[in-house]
């Protein structure tokens, strides 16, 4: 009924957002200097050959025309092929003239699907760690804003906020992997390789989550329907679990929806530092190699993820608080 209508509307809005993002990325890639064809054919190739190939690839057409062509491909489920990555996984060397013109190029969707699970695993673990740290701290700080735990929570948040993620990544890798040999960190062989990068990401998101939880808990605790629970004859814990937590989770869910973008930004840096084979690392190489289809595909997938998550957050908050649904 109404919720379904709302849902359809949000999805349509989401599609528009994804399209706009993709178009922006698409245009910027083509406006800023740096010709992918030069990288494809190699530094030694003559200029007229570069021009010829660029024309053949359609890169000299007006941007809207190119974008239209790209979209018509995308709606058929085809994100295109990478400019640089061959199907067999071997990378051509930039200097070899025409080295990879006759090799079959990997499909962008395959590249993304192959990397996405690693990134999701990393982000999921990071989120889990930060929730495990933030929940007890945030809740106790929110329930007793002047208490001892509140001070600890504030201290931890301040420290975490001021640690740069690349620095922490390097220090952890040096200390825990190399000095102590406790956890592996560079590359990926098994799940253990996710832990250190996840900790770095968690440290980055923790302060926001702690703050949101403690502020919304403190606010909700002041509501009359919470304060009067005692005189209605409900138990203190019952009120906290069933009412304070539930109401306070709405701002938290909204924050998580928004925090995803911060998390994605962090993922790029952290994956690069730890040489972790996720989407972030793929992005960096794609940008360095000016691999247009790959960059576009990643942009589209991540913005779709972002939009989808926010729709999910909204639907969940609506189902918690029916008043929001308007």
């Amino acid at each position: 009924m109404h919720l379904a209508g709302q849902f359809v509307r949000r999805i349509l809005q989401g599609v528009v957002v994804v399209l706009i993002t993709t178009f922006l990325i698409f245009s910027i890639l083509r406006i800023v200097p740096g010709d992918p064809v030069r990288l494809i054919v190699g530094g030694m190739a003559p200029d007229n050959l570069v021009e010829e190939i660029a024309q053949k690839m359609g890169l000299r057409d007006p941007i809207p025309v190119q974008f239209g062509r790209y979209l018509s491909q995308v709606v058929q489920g085809d994100l295109g092929n990478s400019y640089q990555r061959p199907k067999n996984g071997m990378m051509g060397q930039g200097g070899d003239f025409n080295a990879n013109m006759d090799v079959e190029m990997a499909e962008v969707s395959d590249l993304i699907l192959e990397r996405l699970p690693y990134t999701l695993q990393l982000a999921g673990l990071a989120l889990l760690i930060s929730l495990i740290i933030s929940f007890p701290l945030g809740i106790s700080a929110g329930l007793k804003p002047k208490g001892f735990i509140s001070k600890i929570a504030f201290f931890i948040s301040s420290v975490f906020v001021s640690i740069p993620n690349f620095w922490l990544g390097i220090v952890l890798a040096l200390f825990i992997t190399i000095k102590l040999g406790l956890l592996p960190s560079i590359g990926y062989q098994n799940f253990a390789y996710t832990i250190l990068p996840a900790i770095v990401l968690a440290v980055e998101t923790c302060p926001f989550i702690i703050r949101t939880i403690s502020v919304s808990f403190a606010e909700i605790s002041q509501e009359y329907f919470i304060k009067s629970g005692k005189v209605r004859g409900l138990t203190r814990n019952g009120v906290i679990y069933r009412h304070t937590l539930r109401n306070a989770s709405i701002p938290l869910l909204n924050l998580l929806g928004i925090q995803l973008s911060t998390l994605l930004g962090g993922v790029i840096v952290v994956e690069y530092i730890f040489d972790y084979p996720g989407l972030g690392q793929l992005t960096i190489y794609a940008v360095l190699q000016r691999d247009f289809p790959l960059i576009q595909g990643i942009a589209m997938v991540t913005s779709a993820l972002y939009v989808g998550l926010n729709i999910a957050v909204d639907l969940i908050t609506y189902s918690i608080d029916p008043r929001l649904e308007s």
Binding site: H2, A4, G5, F225, G233, L234, T235, H243, R246, N247
Partner: protein, 599 residues
């Protein structure tokens, strides 16, 4: 009979300031008694109630005395015992803040059930407890309780929430029910229904009740015995009859003297049938509201329906009605802050419907609207002088000096000291702020002032003072007032003519004395019978007070909109059609009524 509760020499202290906020309060309460507690705002009614349920604000402590419940000292009970046996169990509490008492994210039923389960500790099945909740909802006269069970707090009206909170209190079958100011936020008709309900419930469930309110007439109606409080201590206690007929303390005498009389006091208004200064014909206004249950569809709320009235120069016209009847929409329409969908408005013989800019500008000066809320309707960062001069700065070409002179003279006219000219409003009382609003309106030398609930947030004394200020100004300036209000006692004192509004329409219009003594419409009788007063009300509640609340404004059809609450309506009839006013006597207009409804 034995004492259920005895309070001995109870004092409460504020820990941070060491002030005693409640001093040496002692009384006994027998089983099944209803004890009324009356006192002005701040006299300690809430603190006493909260002390009895053991739910005091953290900074307050009992500094002396004892509360004994069923012969047991409460101070000797552990917090655990209090939580398990007393608070919300044997002693239940309901306060004025019903509308915020439940979690907005769960249905009302779910939360009442939550309490039932927590009291029952798993002895009874959930299904049986749910039936219990529903049957209690039925007992407090919530319509279609099976359906309402699943609705959310935001879907309940204030009156229904208060009923739901009564259910919440009754779930534990408490021996003692402490009802603190529970009618405060409610409309008179709804408040009267709640009081009637409390009495029925007392008889049905054998509950002892402590009922506090600042209104003596309200408390008198329900209580067997009375306590009069002032500044945290008891002034006088006795049986209700004895106190109201034979008060001993000066304070009580004063209180009784200041309680508005409705019928026993003579009113005398001159007959004002001059030329109409403002004449409104067939105003209607509907709003489109998004339908929450359907995608992309709207329904119509008819806020004002076919409203016509002539306002005579120099008169005080009262427009009364319950909340939601369209009073504020009407005041916005009359002051042209909003356009009506249909109808015409004529001011001083000039038709304003053509929206001529100059005419409207002129009209905006001549008709001023003063709003209810003295706290949010004035800018807080401007000096009082600046606030008052606002209109002149926009509308006139006077020099700064001339403006200041004018402001100062108006200030003294409304009783504001000239020293306040350069001060801010911070910390000023409600009545002071309303004086500033009045000065701000008067500076433009209006002909008509609309007072939309202007006095409702003020206490009795402040109201009295402002009313006499109004009549002084009126005498000097030949002003016309339109009082829009739900307060019948205030309108009785101040208005020569009164229009009664229900669901956006006028159902009756008459001179003050005719309306109060010989009203013609069933709704007017319902309103009048609910006025809390110490004199004898000629309209009997048992005959005219019906249960139920105004219908959903979206569901108004062409039939009489009062039929759902009208004592004359016979169920097998279809109901009359709203026909419009008929003049049954010179100047006494009543909605055509009782045609097809069985009356």
């Amino acid at each position: 009979m034995s004492n259920l509760l005895s309070v001995e020499d109870l004092s409460l202290k504020d820990r941070s300031t060491s002030n005693n906020v409640l001093r040496n309060v002692s009384f006994n309460l027998r089983e099944k008694e209803i004890l009324g507690v009356v006192g002005e705002s701040g006299s300690g009614k809430t603190l006493l109630s909260q002390a009895i349920v053991n739910w005091l604000p953290e900074n307050l402590v009992i500094s002396s005395g004892e509360i004994n419940f069923l012969g047991k000292k409460m101070s000797a009970m552990s917090e655990n015992e209090l939580e398990k046996e007393i608070r919300g169990k044997e002693i239940a509490y309901i306060g004025p803040n019903a509308i915020n008492s439940l979690d907005p994210t769960y249905s009302v039923g779910a939360q009442l059930l939550e309490k039932a389960v927590s009291i029952d500790k798993g002895n009874t099945s959930k299904e049986i407890l749910k039936q219990k909740v529903i049957s209690l909802l039925d007992d407090v006269l919530i319509p279609s309780p099976e359906k309402r069970f699943y609705e959310y707090p935001s879907q309940y009206s204030g009156g229904m929430m208060q009923r739901a909170m009564i259910v919440d209190a009754l779930l534990s079958s408490p021996k003692l029910l402490v009802a603190d100011n529970i009618t405060m936020p409610l409309d008179v008709t709804v408040a009267a229904q709640i009081i009637k309900l409390m009495r029925v419930l007392r008889d049905k469930f054998n509950t002892t009740i402590i009922f506090s309110s600042s209104s003596l007439p309200i408390v008198r109606e329900i209580s067997d015995n009375l306590i009069i409080m002032k500044n945290g201590s008891i002034e006088e206690q006795n049986s209700t009859n004895e106190i109201t007929s034979n008060p001993k303390s000066e304070h009580t005498k004063e209180l009784i003297k200041n309680t508005p009389k409705i019928w026993s006091e003579n009113i005398n208004f001159q007959n004002i049938e001059t030329k109409p200064i403002l004449s409104i014909k067939n105003f209607s206004k509907s709003y489109k509201v998004r339908d929450k249950n359907k995608f992309n569809s709207f329904y119509e709320v008819k806020a004002v329906r076919d409203f016509s009235i002539d306002v005579y120069e120099g008169e005080n016209l009262g427009i009364i009605g319950e909340s939601g009847c369209g009073k504020s929409t009407l005041s916005r329409l009359i002051s042209l802050l909003e356009r009506s969908d249909t109808g015409t408005i004529t001011f001083n013989g000039e038709d304003l419907s053509d929206l001529n800019k100059d005419k409207i500008k002129n009209f905006r000066q001549s008709l001023q609207l003063i709003l209810q809320d003295p706290y949010n309707s004035l800018p807080s960062r401007q000096t009082i002088g600046r606030i008052i001069s606002e209109g002149l700065l926009i509308h006139s070409q006077l020099s700064k000096m001339e403006i200041k002179e004018k402001v100062l003279s108006i200030m003294s006219e409304v009783g504001i000291d000239q020293n306040e000219y350069n001060k801010l409003l911070v910390g000023k009382s409600g009545s002071f702020r309303q004086r500033v609003s009045i000065a701000r309106a008067l500076i433009l030398e209006p002909k008509v002032i609309i007072l939309d609930e202007t006095l409702s947030s003020l206490d009795q004394k402040e109201q009295e003072m402002l009313l006499s200020l109004f009549s002084d100004i009126q005498a000097k300036r030949n002003l016309t007032y339109i009082f829009i209000s739900h307060d019948l006692a205030m309108v009785r004192k101040s208005c020569n003519r009164i229009a009664v509004m229900y669901m956006g329409r006028i159902v009756e219009l008459a001179k003050n004395e005719i309306l109060f003594d010989k009203c013609g419409h069933p709704y007017t009788r319902t309103l009048l019978c609910t006025i809390p007063t110490l004199d004898k009300n000629p309209y009997d509640k048992n005959l005219y007070l019906m249960d139920g609340e105004p219908p959903d404004p979206t569901e108004i059809g062409t039939e009489c909109s009062f039929k759902s609450r009208c004592p004359h309506f016979k169920n097998n009839k279809k109901g009359s059609t709203d026909m419009g006013l008929i003049e049954i006597q010179s100047g006494h207009w009543v909605d055509k009524c009782g045609v097809d409804c069985g009356r």
